[in-house]
């Protein structure tokens, strides 16, 4: 036996609450999925905060 008693309002609004919950979960999945796709399709990301970027420094000729 449940320790709390649902108000009649909860029963009346069950389907729309479930629908809203489903919509919110779907929205999170969409934003997460889009983030993954955008990051994967995005241009190359580089993390050189305190040193010269390798891609921007002139190529060094090997010493013969």
């Amino acid at each position: 036996m449940a320790i709390t008693k649902d108000h009649e309002l909860h029963k009346r609004r069950l389907t729309r609450n479930l629908g809203l919950g489903g919509a919110l979960i779907a929205f999170c999945v969409i934003v997460f999925g889009l983030t993954i796709v955008k990051v994967k399709n995005g241009s190359m990301m580089q993390g050189f905060d305190h040193e010269p970027r390798v891609s921007m420094t002139p190529a060094v000729e090997p010493v013969k």
Binding site: T15, R16, L18
Partner: protein, 315 residues
């Protein structure tokens, strides 16, 4: 209203099904299919997940405009038998709820489409919702018997949005797809209006069958199928067309014109005698007509991707 009063009030307690009904799911299926074709036949490939999300939000945008339409039309929906059981006239939902739902969904769908794809597509979807909800529903629906013609434009925008999702712009091909749906809508709906005994006149909606009579409606159906045919067949000569599309378009348009001709040649007595058999047949054929054209465009795309079109020298 006090908290207790709010808890006990059953007015406006809509169920999930009522919110789904507000989106007009059957109309949404046309939006989904044509937008999908517009997106797929575009020359720029789209990531499948982004494509899926784009179609989803285009469909939700269409649903949002339907909710706004039901909010504004609640007074006439109550009068007409076909629409009397919609959530607002049936008393399961308040007009304010439908308005809030429609506006909220419009905002979410346009912003999400813009973020997921490009800003142009988001703005285009916003314009489509505005066109259906304001230009058609609020302005023209109750003021001109050509309401179906102009309202058809709103239903014809989705393939253009699909194309814009992929390319970020508009060219002759999406305009051809737009014209196909735009010119198809009047004969499709007027064929329905001939055999559906709707009480539009009681509701104050000027339908062509009421304002100009059934004979004139028959002439209009035939005229529109004649204008539609060259546009539909001409699409075959654009970059999205090809021999398969041309063959399908030729057959479907000849059949549609033949059906419209039979409608034109009938009078009301003959139609009533066989319970509008020809009108019903043309209406159901018109659904196949539109599906056939867009399906043929998909086939052309598949053939193009497999390199079959190039083998036969078709661009």
């Amino acid at each position: 209203m006090s908290d207790i009063g709010y808890l006990e009030s059953k007015e406006g307690d809509a169920q999930l099904g009522d919110y789904i009904a507000l989106l007009k799911p059957r109309v949404m299926s046309l939006v989904v299919f044509t937008a999908f074709v517009g997106l797929v036949v575009a020359p720029v490939p789209v990531h499948p997940f982004v494509g899926f999300i784009a179609i989803l939000f285009i469909a939700l945008g269409g649903g949002a405009s339907a909710a706004l339409n039901m909010w504004y039309d609640a007074d006439i929906d109550k009068i007409m038998r076909r629409t009397a059981n919609r959530p607002i006239p049936a008393g399961r939902m308040t007009g304010g709820e439908a308005l809030g739902f429609g506006l909220g969904l419009s905002g979410i769908s346009c912003v999400m489409l813009a973020l997921a794809t490009n800003v142009f597509s988001g703005l285009f979807l916003a314009f489509t919702i505005f066109f259906y909800a304001v230009v058609y529903t609020i302005w023209l629906k109750r003021s001109t018997p050509q309401n179906i013609v102009i309202g058809g434009a709103a239903g014809a925008f989705p393939p253009m949005i699909g194309w814009a999702v992929a390319t970020g712009g508009i060219s002759v091909e999406p305009v051809a797809m737009f014209m196909l749906v735009f010119l198809w809508t009047p004969p499709h709906f007027w064929a329905l209006a001939l055999f559906m005994k709707e009480d539009y006149s009681n509701a104050g909606v000027p339908m062509l069958t009421v304002t100009h009579g059934r004979k004139s409606t028959r002439k209009h159906i035939f005229a529109y199928t004649l204008i539609l045919a060259p546009i539909a067949i001409g699409t075959g000569f654009t970059s999205i067309g090809g021999p398969v599309y041309l063959a399908v378009a030729l057959v479907l348009n000849l059949m549609f014109i033949q059906g419209a001709w039979r409608i034109l040649k009938r009078d009301e007595a003959a139609a009533q005698a066989d319970s509008y058999k020809v009108e019903k047949r043309v209406f159901y054929f018109s659904l196949l007509y539109l599906f056939g054209h867009f399906a043929a465009l998909l086939v052309e795309k598949c053939l193009d991707m497999m390199g079959v079109s190039q083998m036969f020298g078709w661009f």
